[in-house]
């Protein structure tokens, strides 16, 4: 079982997180989150808690691997300024079968959304504003 976590300022190619088939993983699920240009958004800025973020993400990935029997769990998350269309973060999970790979990736996304120390600020024609936590993101944790 392999776990890989990266928190970085630099852009990255989410497709590169998909592993080559190894004969054990029958299923790979890759999630990529991208900056939407809602309401004329021109820039998003992501703040995080260096050190603690990585530790949390590793914990979530280990929990997901254990719970769903993942063969591999990988999380890459950017911080700093991002433009519309840019990839903010990506999660990749492999498992013998599809349900585990889907559940692993969805579980990681739900935890990452509300329990990893990231904060987003948006800039646009309206000035700048901090993104507020969505109640449905908190609710999403309830299903795990």
């Amino acid at each position: 079982m392999a776990i890989e976590v990266r928190v970085q300022r630099e852009p990255f190619d989410p497709a590169a997180l998909l592993p080559a088939g190894d004969g054990a993983a029958g299923a790979a699920v890759l999630f990529a989150g991208q900056v939407r240009a809602d309401d004329g958004l021109s820039e998003m800025e992501i703040e995080h808690w260096p050190g603690v973020t990585e530790e949390r993400l590793r914990l979530f990935a280990a929990e997901a691997a254990e719970r769903f029997g993942l063969l591999r769990a990988c999380i890459v998350h950017r911080h700093g300024p991002l433009r519309p269309g840019e990839t903010i973060m990506a999660v990749a999970c492999t498992a013998p079968h599809r349900r585990a790979a889907f559940d692993g990736a969805a579980f990681l996304m739900d935890w990452l959304k509300s329990r990893a120390p990231f904060w987003k600020k948006e800039r646009g024609p309206w000035g700048e504003r901090w993104v507020e936590a969505a109640p449905e993101d908190e609710d999403a944790l309830g299903r795990w």
Partner: protein, 81 residues
């Protein structure tokens, strides 16, 4: 004790971290001390329902025991992903 501020708390208070001398027994008491110091703290902590607390990097409630704690962090609910 080291105190960390993130996101709009950091912006309103104007610093991301500081060392304070305090005997506050809980995060709630610590915030009362900070509020009394300067208006920018009072403004930042005007609505503590919108603020979360971590003690030594673990999420804790407002009445957590700060005895022996080295670090307290204040921040709004997380919004990653």
């Amino acid at each position: 004790m080291r105190i960390l501020y993130f996101a709009w708390l950091r912006e309103r208070i104007g610093i991301s971290s500081e060392e304070v001398e305090t005997a506050a027994p809980t995060p709630a008491a610590l915030v009362e001390e900070l509020r009394a110091r300067e208006p920018r703290y009072a403004a930042a902590f005007a609505d503590t329902k919108a603020v979360r607390v971590a003690v030594d990097q673990e999420m804790r409630g407002w009445d957590a025991d700060l005895a022996g704690a080295r670090e307290v962090a204040f921040f709004p609910p997380m919004t990653g992903g």
